[in-house]
């Protein structure tokens, strides 16, 4: 049986930042080609403002590898890629297009800067000892 420890009291780290309030009313979208609806000013954020708890942070190469690549490449699903000196440029292309059964990853998943970092990390890291071939 797995016993799970419960912490008695939980304290949130308040990293509050006020969300941007409603933007300027959109206008001037008329055209002969379509029939634009009448826009109303977005009102909900002023009604009940929402504070942001956490936004996704920019990740370094090791983090991207751990949070995405390793789930397959260290688990016998994809081939081992650490310690094999694969060229970073070719890997970047494969990440974006998804070679064979591998999914593709968009710039919204892994930014260009994160892609550069993770391919350099993979290209220069020593082999790992996890599962795989």
């Amino acid at each position: 049986m797995i016993k799970l420890r419960l912490k008695k009291r939980v304290m949130l780290e308040p990293r509050w930042a006020i969300v941007l309030l409603a933007a300027a009313m959109l206008s001037g979208c008329g055209s002969e080609q379509g029939v634009p609806p009448e826009f109303t000013e977005p009102q909900v954020d002023t009604l009940n403002p929402i504070k942001v708890t956490a936004a996704a942070a920019v990740r370094d190469g090791a983090q991207v590898y751990r949070q995405t690549c390793a789930y397959c490449h260290e688990h016998n699903v994809g081939p081992k890629i650490l310690g094999r000196n694969y060229p970073a440029d070719a890997m970047a292309m494969i990440v974006r297009s998804g070679l064979n059964g591998m999914p593709s990853f968009r710039a919204t998943d892994i930014t260009d800067a994160e892609l550069k970092a993770v391919t350099e990390y993979v290209a220069t890291s020593a082999a790992s000892t996890g599962a795989g071939s």
């Binding site: 799970l4 959109l26 634009p36 909900v44 995405t68 070719a90 998943d109």
Partner: protein, 539 residues
């Protein structure tokens, strides 16, 4: 090329090949809508870029390759998008909608687009921009006492998981099989399921913010009451309950979603029930149903076929040297035994305290002791990679191991899901399995399936695994899907969800009145037809 046999030279070669012809691995370009010519398209793209920045609006060129990648068949090139635009705020979504309304340019919203067996970031009808909401990735609130969260569409399960861990919040997620790269919003809006007691994701959804096609922003449930703090506490609000209208539909763009999270229990015990014969399924489902209906087993029960399990980590070519026909049962039985699996492997858990689990386990043993098979725990199965995988899922943990099934047939990979619903009765499951096996065998595909036993329902998730680079296999996969969807519906078994290749077909099966009702709503809410035309067959 075998994925596991990759070499430095082959990888370099693949990279160069992709550089020369990116569409090879990632699908082909799609045509523009009839009413939009090239100069109008260029104008739309310019206007999108002025809203989100040049980097986040992509035209119909090589940079669109990641969005074209899809594992479902696209025989006539009807499903690839013609561009993508990625806003980072509600205000940008509204501005994009204004442009889309002006030019009647359809947008296909995705949260993370990881529903791989259903189309990912491809579209039901041609001529659409992907509205990629992944950049809207803020966790807006987590309330440890209420066990609630409010998130944007681009928040992944991994991101939320890390947040809970880093802040020592004792709440569990409930994940689909690919939690690290999928999102709670996307999975819930497609009415996906998971594996803890909170596995029915739409049931534990609470409150939405929706940008309507007009650009208006609506909060559902209690979210539009001034000063309310119960948006994530009370699902129903007042008057018509509308949240369901924004799932598997195209009536609005969900930009915030509330959800309930399960308090981490003091104890959890995972089990697997292992059947050595296919025929054992009948008695097992009849025996286990009362345990699920009565919530003795509180989580979604997953009965995994041996072939699906094996294909997570092994390829067909290494097991069987004949690519034609279906994998013989005797070979599958031998490989399953090597892996510590039965022909059916049923995973479930007990959650509570040590005392409640100790009191409940004898009930399970008494009931399942009447059925052929073995009830096993960590004592016997600890370390087995399949058991460990399902243990992780039943605790809301992160895994991508099931992505392995995409490459069962090698080549470019390929997978198409057909997911009919039945009553959880042994007779129904047995009849569905027989029909599925017959049709799959006719087209030369293997029987790779899982049964998800819900509170009152049985989902039979059938994975048609093929090599998309082989055009003959792609055609066969599509034909196989159509025959299965048609013949199952003739028996009264409809789909709970379907991919972009089958949305019109399934919508017709649910009847003309339902179709007219959806169209009436669509015409009223989205008169220019700009949001995801063709989603669930609604145009």
């Amino acid at each position: 090329m075998n994925d596991l046999d990759i070499s430095r030279r082959s990888l370099l070669g693949a990279g160069l090949a992709l550089a020369g012809a990116p569409a090879f691995a990632a699908g082909r370009a799609a045509p523009l809508p009839d009413h939009i010519d090239r100069s109008t398209y260029d104008q739309i793209l310019r206007e999108f870029r002025s809203i989100v920045g040049d980097q986040w609006a992509i035209g119909n060129d090589d940079n669109l390759a990641p969005y074209r990648k899809s594992y479902v068949p696209d025989i006539d090139g009807q499903h690839a998008p013609i561009g993508a635009v990625a806003p980072e705020s509600v205000e940008q979504v509204q501005a994009i909608l204004a442009v889309a309304n002006t030019y009647r340019q359809p947008l296909w919203p995705v949260s993370t687009g990881r529903n791989f067996g259903y189309g990912a970031t491809t579209t039901a009808r041609p001529g659409q921009f992907i509205l990629d909401l992944k950049r809207m990735n803020r966790i807006l609130s987590v309330d440890p006492e209420m066990g609630t969260a409010l998130v944007e569409p681009g928040v992944t399960y991994q991101q939320l998981h890390d947040y809970l861990r880093d802040n020592n919040i004792p709440l569990w997620l409930d994940v689909p099989t690919i939690g690290p790269i999928a999102s709670p919003v996307g999975n819930t809006l497609d009415r996906g399921v998971g594996y803890t007691p909170y596995g029915e994701h739409f049931m534990v959804q609470c409150g939405m913010e929706v940008v309507l096609p007009s650009g208006e922003v609506m909060r559902t449930g209690m979210g539009s009451i001034e000063g309310s703090n119960t948006w994530q506490n009370f699902k129903w609000g007042y008057g018509p309950y509308v949240d369901g209208l924004f799932t598997q539909s195209n009536f609005g763009i969900v930009t915030k979603m509330g959800m309930w999270l399960m308090p981490r229990p003091p104890a959890f015990k995972p089990f697997v029930f292992r059947n050595q014969t296919f025929e054992g399924l009948t008695a097992l489902i009849d025996a286990i149903r009362p345990l699920r209906v009565g919530s003795v087993i509180p989580n979604g029960i997953l009965t995994m076929g041996a072939l699906y399990q094996v294909s997570m980590f092994r390829s067909r070519a290494e097991i069987y040297d004949n690519p034609a026909g279906t994998l013989p049962d005797d070979i599958l039985r031998r490989i399953a035994a090597e892996e510590g699996l039965g022909m059916w492997n049923t995973y479930f858990g007990l959650y509570g305290t040590e005392q409640t689990i100790a009191a409940t386990e004898p009930v399970l043993r008494a009931v399942l002791g009447q059925v052929e098979g073995e009830l096993l725990t960590e004592a016997e199965m600890g370390g087995n990679r399949y058991f460990e995988h399902h243990k992780t899922l039943m605790m809301g943990g992160m895994s991508l191991e099931e992505l392995g099934i995409l490459k069962w047939r090698g080549g470019a990979g390929g997978m198409l899901c057909f997911a009919p619903v039945a009553q959880p009765r042994g007779s129904e499951a047995t009849a569905q399995s027989a029909l599925a096996k017959e049709i799959l065998a006719k087209f030369g595909f293997d029987y790779a399936v899982a049964y998800a036993i819900g509170w009152r329902d049985l989902h039979h998730i059938i994975f048609i695994q093929y090599d998309k680079a082989d055009k003959q296999q792609e055609r066969k996969a599509m034909d196989c899907y159509v025959e299965m969807a048609t013949r199952f519906a003739e028996r009264g078994w409809g789909s709970y969800r379907t991919g972009v290749q089958g949305m019109d077909l399934v919508a017709r099966q649910f009847g003309k009145v339902n179709q007219r009702f959806n169209k009436t709503l669509k015409d009223a809410i989205d008169p220019n037809g700009i949001i995801a035309p063709g989603k669930s067959g609604i145009v």
